[in-house]
Structures are given as C-alpha cells and as structure tokens.
C-alpha cells in the first residue's frame, strides 16, 4: 500500500476520533439534562445511544489494528496510532460513565431530591465538557502546553466532587433523601472520572509529541 494512502487512512482515523469525541459530548450533555429535568425518556435515549458510541469504538479499534498489521508504522506515525488506541478507549469509557448517570437518573425518579445539589452538577458538567473539548483540541493541534492545562481544570472537578460528598453527609435523617444522595455521589464520581479520562487524553498528546509517556500528576496513581 503506498504511503500516501497510509497517511490518508491515518487522517481518516483521527477525524473519526474527533467525531467520537463529539458524540461523547452529546451523551454527557444529555445525561446531565436528563438528571436535571428528571427526564426518564431522555435517560433511556442516552443508554441506547451508547450502542452507537460502542459501535464506533469497535470500528476505530479495527481500523487501528488494520493499520498496525498491514503498515507496520514507525516513529511519529506509530506513536499516533498507539495514542489513538488509548484515546479511543478513554472516550468509550466516558460514554459508559454517561450511561451510569442516565441509569442513576432513572433509579432516582421516585426519590426526594435536593435541587441545589443537582444545580451544582450542572456546573461540574460544564467543566467536564470544557475538559473534553480542550483534550480533543490539544490532541488535534499537538499542543502539549494546552493539554497540561487539563490538570488545573481537573482539580476544580475533583474539589466539586469532594464538596458533593460533604453535602450528602449533611442531608440529614430523611431516608429517601439519603438514598438519593448516595446515588448522587456516584453521579459525581462519574463526572470526576470523565475529567480524569480527559487528562489521560492530554497525556497521550504529550506522548505523541515528545515520544515519552508521563503522567501529568501523581494523583492519577490513585485512580481506578
């Protein structure tokens, strides 16, 4: 296969990665809208939409495997292929977290809620969306400095996550409210994990550009 065809295929794969990122953004926005509006129908749509994200994940995976098998890329091309393999996985995981938020929304339909906590999730979701955009843009432009900014953005989400736990602990003696609060801790954790995956994509940008993999912060050692 001529090299220019190979590079066309690389470009197509990278464009597909960016498209996948846009789908994940839609899933995240919709899952948070469903939570905010207590919209069980929209939550169902988010859950069903994950099949599309998974389908594209497998399509990308096969495309990347095909390139590795048939083209044996080297140097920066090899790093790009390997980085896309990781980015693809992180995006698919983000989609899974959106599904978890949607499922928790459905499970929490009949429970008493605390509107101030839900409103707080909206702010966290906006930050998570911003992180995904920064991660995708820095990967596309090979901008390591911008990718490293994700660490600061992630710290804001981590702090918000810790505040949610404190808030839930303060919810008091209403059993239904406490049950709802426990589910919201998982929602908060999902948003926090989405932020972590965005940082991981940033780390792939740094690997792609420098050829060396390094974690941006030690904090990631403690992640799941």
């Amino acid at each position: 296969m001529p090299r220019d065809v190979f590079h066309e295929q690389l470009e197509r794969l990278e464009a597909a990665i960016q498209e996948q990122g846009q789908l994940v953004l839609r899933a995240l926005r919709s899952s948070v809208n469903a939570l905010h509006r207590r919209d069980s129908g929209l939550a169902d749509e988010v859950i069903a939409f994950d099949d599309e994200i998974d389908r594209r994940y497998h399509g990308l995976q096969q495309g990347i495997e095909g390139l590795l098998a048939l083209q044996t890329p080297v140097a920066v091309d090899l790093r790009l292929v390997l980085a896309m393999l990781h980015v693809n996985l992180h995006l698919e995981r983000m989609g899974d977290h959106c599904v978890t938020i949607a499922k928790l929304t459905k499970l929490s339909q009949s429970l008493t809620s605390d509107p101030s906590l839900v409103a707080g999730f909206e702010d966290v979701a906006v930050r998570a969306e911003e992180m995904i955009r920064v991660a995708l843009a820095s990967f596309a432009t090979r901008d390591v400095a911008r990718a490293e900014m994700l660490v600061d953005l992630d710290e804001l989400i981590d702090r918000a996550n810790r505040r949610v736990v404190s808030h839930v602990l303060d919810l008091g003696g209403d059993a239904a409210l406490r049950e709802w609060g426990l589910r919201m801790i998982i929602v908060s954790r999902c948003l926090e994990r989405i932020g972590d995956h965005a940082v991981d994509i940033g780390e792939q940008t740094a690997y792609l550009v420098t050829g060396e993999f390094r974690e941006f912060t030690d904090a990631s050692h403690g992640r799941d």
Partner: protein
Amino acid sequence: MSAQDLPSGYEGLRVGFTAAVSHELRTPLARLLSLLDTAKLPGVDVQELIEEACAEVVEMTQLVDDILFLSELEQGREVVALGFTELAPYVSEVFEANRERALRAELGLEQDVPAGIVVPMRPRMLLVLLGNLLDNALRYAGRGATFRVVARLEGHHVVLEVSDDGAGVDASDVPRLFERFFRSDRSRTTRGTGLGLAIVKHIVGAADGTAEVEGALGQGTRFRFVLPAPRGARII
C-alpha cells in the same frame, strides 16, 4: 447613528436580536394593556376580554419558550441528535395531534414516508421540526390546501420534503423564511412567534443536514431537507 457607530459582527447580531425580542414582546403587551383598559369601561363583555387577554399571555409565553429553546439549541445545551429515529411514526403522531386544527383550517394532510427511513435526530426534535412546519402551513397555506410529507433514501442521505400547495409567499420573501422573527404576513393578522422556521433550520443544521425552501405566491411552499443516513462501522 452614523455608520461608524453601528455595532458589527457578533455584537451587532446580539444587539439586533435583543431589539427584535423587545419589539416582538411589546406588541402583545400593548394589546394586553389595551384589553385591560377596555375591561374597565362600563357595559363591556369582561369575560370575552379576559379570554382575549389570556390568548395574549399564551402568545407571550410561546414566544419566551421559543426564544429559550432556540438559545439552548445554539449554546449546545439542548442536544438534537442522539442516534437515529424512525420518521414515519412521528409524522403520523404529528398529523394525529393536529387533525382537528387541520379540519378547521380545511388543510389536507398526506404522507409518503416508507417504513424504515430514519433521521439523525431525537424524537423530541423530530416532533418540533414536523410540528413547526405543519403549524406554518396551518397558519398560512389557506383553505383547501394540502400539506405533504415525503421522504426517500438517496445514496447516503435521507431526503425529506415537506410542502403545501397553498397561498405561498412572495418570491422575494422566500430567502428570508428561515430568519428569526421574519413573517411574510407583515400585517401580523395571524398569530405565531416568527421563530418556528428558524428553529427548524437550526435543528436540521445540528443534525448535519441542509435546509432549502422554495415557493411563490399562489404556488405553495416547499421545504427540502437532506440529512445523513446511517453508515457502517467501518472507518477505513
């Protein structure tokens, strides 16, 4: 204001939009005030005036709802597409929900949408799109006209054609039909927010589709939307 003082670019659009919203709200507010003033007069039918006042409030609420909806669409806070939705059942649903209004307006409803044709938008967005187009025909097509929804698959695209054979609009107005607050009915004798077709165009654009419109006075109005059809998972 001199040409140099005119706001430009995004700021100009924002200022223009704010002015348009203010203007659109002022009209029903003035009508509402007039109705309330009239209600103070002796011997008037207060019940009828209250009903008219309620209609004005409903119109203002619809306007605010449409503005908020369009704003959320533009900011990406309202997601248009989450996978694909089968078209035919939603055309039937919109027809059924508007059957009485169509009978009163003497507007015929026809569809030719094969089963299995899907479009890349959420059911809610599809209902808004079809509902706004039908609403437009109900207001402007005139008695005896027929509203048609036709869809077909062309290569990797779905072509959705929505038309009526009614009164149509002046050919010079056709390019402006998707503009916010544009109404070819300049005397404003019909109700409506003037945002329905702007919302339609935004939904189609957000679903990676294109929207076109053509028509002329006495020749009806035809909307043509081209939307991406589902593709296989293979990337390369």
